[in-house]
Amino acid sequence: MRVLIVDDEKLARDRLRELLNDIGGYTVVGEAMNGAEAVERTGELNPDVLLMDIRMPGMDGLEAAMHLMGMENPPAVIFTTAYDQHALDAFDVNAVDYLLKPIRKDRLAKALSKAHKLTMKQITEINQARPEPAERTHISVHLRGNIRLVPVPDILFFLADSKYVVVRTPTEEHLIEDSLVNLEKEFGDRFLRIHRNALVATGYIKGIEKSPAGTWQISLKNLDKKLDVSRRHTAQVRRWARNRPMSA
């Protein structure tokens, strides 16, 4: 069985490696230091199971698992944690495997022998159970069976297009299967609804101007494109413009 070890602490990774060596029958195909790396490595190395710490800088283990579940053939995930009371209660409720640090060899062997794939539902419920339900740091985009992570701070806008949502960064454009309603709920403090089909990152708004046709348009930093503000959202956009911090 091919194992990917994910932990931000080197000695914690070493320990897992040694324990796996002791147990035998498992190959460590690689290591990752945070959630984003874990998602990348999983795409490259195609492991059967991930041993993944929950608390990591940047992207944490739960979010990484969320992105992984979107893969065509996701690996099994066993979480490791030192102490994470709220998450652990939710893990028990949703029958998700986890190991408590310091990790014991017999527990590790048992967890690996019955390692199974997570479902999106399990992960979402665990996330909801946390004191502050997390918003994703990245959006995962599927490219020919592979996962690409787009950091949320890089995103200029989301544009709904019949079945898909277009994710636009200064340099790239991707399609994701999500709804603007969900995205707005999750990233509402970072994005502004300007149209039934558009959410714009407030940090990238350069100005609001009137088009020759008399409607309002938003111009963006880093991209030469104007987005229409619908009549229904004009009041909301103008309210935002009045309250925006001076530095922006």
């Binding site: 931000d8 602490e9 000695l11 914690a12 945070n34 800088p57 640090k101 310091p102 997390a134």
Partner: protein, 384 residues
């Protein structure tokens, strides 16, 4: 007999309610007494088996006392029959009152304390009146009374309400006092636990143990040193809050803590020390420096994939110890960091307050993606 039949479903319902509550009590003691916001409720839980039992006992005692003082042949032929009828009536009043409070408690507890108490009291009197009225109507309905307004109608109500006012007042007072005592003990215990947990952060402890387990194989000497550091650190964490220690000792402890964190965070943690000259008598409360460093690591270094540098400056000036700890901050705050570093400083600030009163200050600033905490303490410990 009809009265008894009427009361049975009530009692059954109460029993079921009590049983459910007992189950909940057995599983999670604090959750019953305390709502999620951590504030203790004013009115106790009247559906609890213990309270219901007490109510029944007191009501029965009242029935016996009344039975002893009323003239014979006043209600019925034999004293035993008197007692039976009195018991049924009083139990009915008592249990109905308990049930009313049980169901309205949630709403009453939203009111200010005094008004909640007043409302509860009025509800009990209203219950007494209603039950008395029902009794008369029932007797009339079964043909034992010729009219729903017998000549003793007014005196019956006045008597019942007076007795009810006295007994209910006493009982409410009793239950409230007991409830207050319970919730105070509970909140004290919780505060103690919280204080201990804020000192010994479980996340740090278990991660460190995992690291030590890893080191026992690869580098036994390092593991040995780590265990020694941890022992010293724990000794400090378990010591009395009031202990004042020389500045040098505090720096030693902080270094032991940093050695452990360095094992964990590897090359992600760099600490720059800048320690000025201190008179030998300069003291500070035990574990003043370590929590500041822990804060810097938790909200700074741990959240940065590449780590960063913590700057620690200590100097003495004008009979005051100045401590300044600054750490880098992650650009986009991740989920755990949402509770900003400023919030977790509350505990530390509280400790200084209890030690020094207004003589100590703790300020924090955030600029250029660095977070800086500055603490100023009187050099000689000061007097709280």
């Amino acid at each position: 007999m009809e009265i008894a039949d009427k009361t049975r479903p009530w009692i059954d319902r109460l029993k079921v309610y009590g049983r459910n509550l007992e189950q909940r009590l057995g599983r999670k003691m604090p959750s019953v007494e305390t709502p999620p916001n951590g504030q203790s409720e004013f009115l106790p839980n009247f559906c609890a088996g213990e309270v219901v039992f007490n109510v029944v006992v007191v009501a029965e005692m009242l029935a016996i006392v009344i039975n002893l003082i009323i003239p014979r042949n006043f209600i019925s032929a034999t004293p035993l029959q008197d007692l039976l009828l009195l018991s049924i009536f009083i139990q009915w009043v008592a249990l109905a009152g308990t049930a009313v409070l049980c169901y309205t408690r949630k709403h009453l507890n939203r009111l200010p304390n005094l008004r909640a108490l007043g409302m509860a009291y009025l509800l009990l009197l209203l219950t007494t009146f209603t039950v008395s009225e029902c009794t008369i109507l029932l007797l009339w309905a079964v043909g034992r009374l010729r009219t729903p307004f017998p000549e003793w109608y007014t005196s019956f109500h006045i008597l019942n309400l007076t007795i009810s006012a006295i007994i209910n007042g006493l009982l409410l007072r009793l239950f409230l006092a007991k409830h207050e005592l319970q919730s105070r003990t509970l909140s004290e215990a919780r505060a103690r636990l919280q204080a201990l947990q804020s000192r010994i952060r479980p996340h740090f402890v278990f991660n460190s143990m995992n690291i030590i387990a890893s080191l026992t194989r690869s580098a036994p000497e390092k593991a040995e040193a780590a265990i020694e550091d941890m022992a010293d650190l724990f000794r400090m964490m378990l010591s009395q809050d009031e202990t004042l220690v020389p500045v040098k000792n505090e720096i030693d402890v902080a270094n032991k803590y940093l050695a452990l964190e360095a094992l964990r965070l590897d090359n992600r943690l760099i600490v720059n020390w800048d320690v000025g000259k201190f008179p030998r008598k300069a003291v500070m409360p035990v574990l003043t420096l370590q929590p500041l460093l822990e804060n810097a690591i938790r909200y700074g270094i741990e959240e940065l994939p590449a780590g960063g540098t913590i700057d620690v400056r200590l100097w003495e000036d004008n009979d005051q110890i100045h401590i300044q700890v600054s750490n880098p901050l992650p650009k986009t705050k991740s989920k755990q960091a949402k509770s900003t570093p400023g919030q977790s400083l509350g505990n530390i600030r509280q400790r200084f307050q209890s030690h020094y009163g207004e003589q100590a200050t703790l300020t924090s600033t955030e600029d250029n993606s660095r977070f800086t905490v500055t603490v100023v303490l009187p050099t000689r410990g000061g007097n709280p």
